[in-house]
Symmetry: C4
């Protein structure tokens, strides 16, 4: 399978980025003697870092899922597709940095803009990746134009949601944080695209 290694590199970048997120949660360093109350207070101060970890992880999971679903249909890769994939991964690998930024400066509009802008960039490259694969005939013949369009629509909606959350977040950081936290939840809901995805599997069995 031609696309095997593209997926292996992507899975590796996602796995490292997801696990590096935890480096943004700093171990509290308390002077001895350590009391339970002091440690509890120090851990409470980590709540924002931990929330950032969870949101960053689930947003990466959402992007991974989108990449995963595309490669269920992509059969071949050419130079252009490989580079679109690399630019997508370039944005993905930045997420541990932007997540640490937002967890450190949660109420700063510029931090929110960089966080949302990086996710949007990843979304744009993922969209371009799918559009190119469809147009260049690199996808499975079983993918109907309707199914290709459904996937494109779903991705467009996700990008619009990301853009809205970024703009709102640039003015109202707290509202932006809540909106970004909701995006993975939306991705967990079943979509009109699911039957098309399921169908493909059953026919290839």
């Amino acid at each position: 399978m031609e696309s095997r290694r593209v997926e292996a590199l992507a899975d590796g970048v996602f796995a490292v980025a997801m696990t590096l997120l935890v480096l943004g949660v700093h171990l509290p360093e308390l002077p001895a003697p350590v009391t339970g109350a002091a440690l509890l207070a120090a851990l409470r101060a980590l709540a924002l870092s931990l929330a950032g970890y969870a949101v960053g992880f689930l947003l990466l999971g959402t992007l991974w899922l989108g990449h995963h679903n595309q490669f269920r249909f992509i059969r071949r890769a050419d130079r252009t597709l490989l580079w679109l994939n690399l630019f997508f991964l370039l944005a993905v690998a930045l997420v541990p940095f932007t997540t640490a930024l937002i967890a450190r400066y949660p109420l700063q509009p510029v931090a929110m803009a960089i966080f949302g802008g990086t996710l949007l960039l990843a979304g744009v490259f993922l969209f371009a990746h799918w559009s190119y694969a469809v147009n260049a005939g690199l996808v499975d013949d079983a993918v109907t134009p309707e199914a290709a369009e459904l996937i494109r629509e779903r991705m467009s909606m996700a990008m619009v949601a990301c853009l809205v959350a970024t703009i709102i977040g640039a003015f109202l950081p707290k509202a932006g944080l809540v909106l970004f936290g909701c995006m993975p939840v939306l991705s967990m809901l079943p979509g009109r695209v699911d039957p098309a995805l399921a169908e493909d599997v059953s026919t290839s069995d």
Copy 2:
């Protein structure tokens, strides 16, 4: 194989988490001139970090083994299963942090509660992952209801053991540490589930 990339992402997260554990063992920085006795003393002070590394590694190994065994039977994945898998990995990727926490504050009940709670969370998601896969018909037809139940029982016992170790550890941290150190050993013992696992391999040959 539909589940190939889910496993690749999981293997990547486990591999990174296992290897990041070693970042919790800090290189001693001694002022020159360094004597052998001073270095030996500094390395002895690392004993707890190294024990934490070993216990964290083997507990991650235990979780990986459980995930690995499930995917010997899981043939398909849907949106829900992929998200259960991502939540499981979210807990797994936290283990380097919780292990560093427990190695730094070994006698603090709150550190032990967070360490055990994260493992329990991973166990709950792994259990939900298997239960969902069986109920949604995503597993191999060769898996009998009895075999599915045996795996569920084994996981339930592991979760109860983890809960007990967490509760005991919250009151008696030292006893909790010993109990968590014993859990991978239990996982090394052959179980009633092994013949079912072996059978599947022989029939698929």
Copy 3:
């Protein structure tokens, strides 16, 4: 497939090296109270680190692409090939360090020489890897001597470009930085080698 694990190790090293690059972009630590203007200024000071991240990532992507293309044709591996691969990865895994060096000391000729020298070393091992595979008969029979030569030519040109950029960069660091930034762009252009690559895929379908 004999070469599967060689590729898996390489994909892993590339994925980790690409994602570790982001550790070279340090989160600004501002004293409270943080103003938007102060954070914006601190983030502007990161521009060079971020440019280094992007260039390092895309250069690693270029090397990955070269490795990927070789393994579309390599069918077997022997001890010598595996060690050439390991030496190639040794240079690849150094890139996060040399990228951080160049981002920290962008105008120092010695930093540029080390950055370019490491990339050149990776290129030399990648070239040796391909030449050895062809000469030792480890590649697919469908690879004609002309196609093998085309790939060698393309790699030679890339190595010459890298050498030129390193030498120019040792005297004019800014010009060297621009030249290295252009190299991935060159790799995105279609090449005379593409039909040969495409042909192979169509015949193996």
Copy 4:
């Protein structure tokens, strides 16, 4: 293929450990204004760290090669084999720490003993892994008892060499360093085991 994921986890741990080695090479932090001479001097002081990086990388490469060669013959895995594999990886993932230790304290016998001892531990688990796989009938039927014994002999010799280097290094650290640097070179030489390895590939084609 039953052993696929065991290899995927191992490749991931090796890839991360190899790439984490570079974190032991610290970027020099010079006060402004930075002169070329000052940077050159600072980089020269890194020579030992870089040598440690190279030796650690190549020793990990040697261990990876041994693991890789075993899995060319291992067809099945059971609980015991999986745990032997995990214990092997536990030692492998420690190598970035022990390499940083030896690069920081190159002339301390205790550092050398820990460095060599960890490698020896990895060797012992790798040896146990192969012996168990052969005895439990988990290897390919094409593996003759003679070939299995040849591999065991080669591994025994490597372990003896590692033990000798560790003991010598505990008394004469410099000689130990040179001996460990020579071990990957030995692994690059063709061995009596190579025809057996090659034969297997040709018969399985």
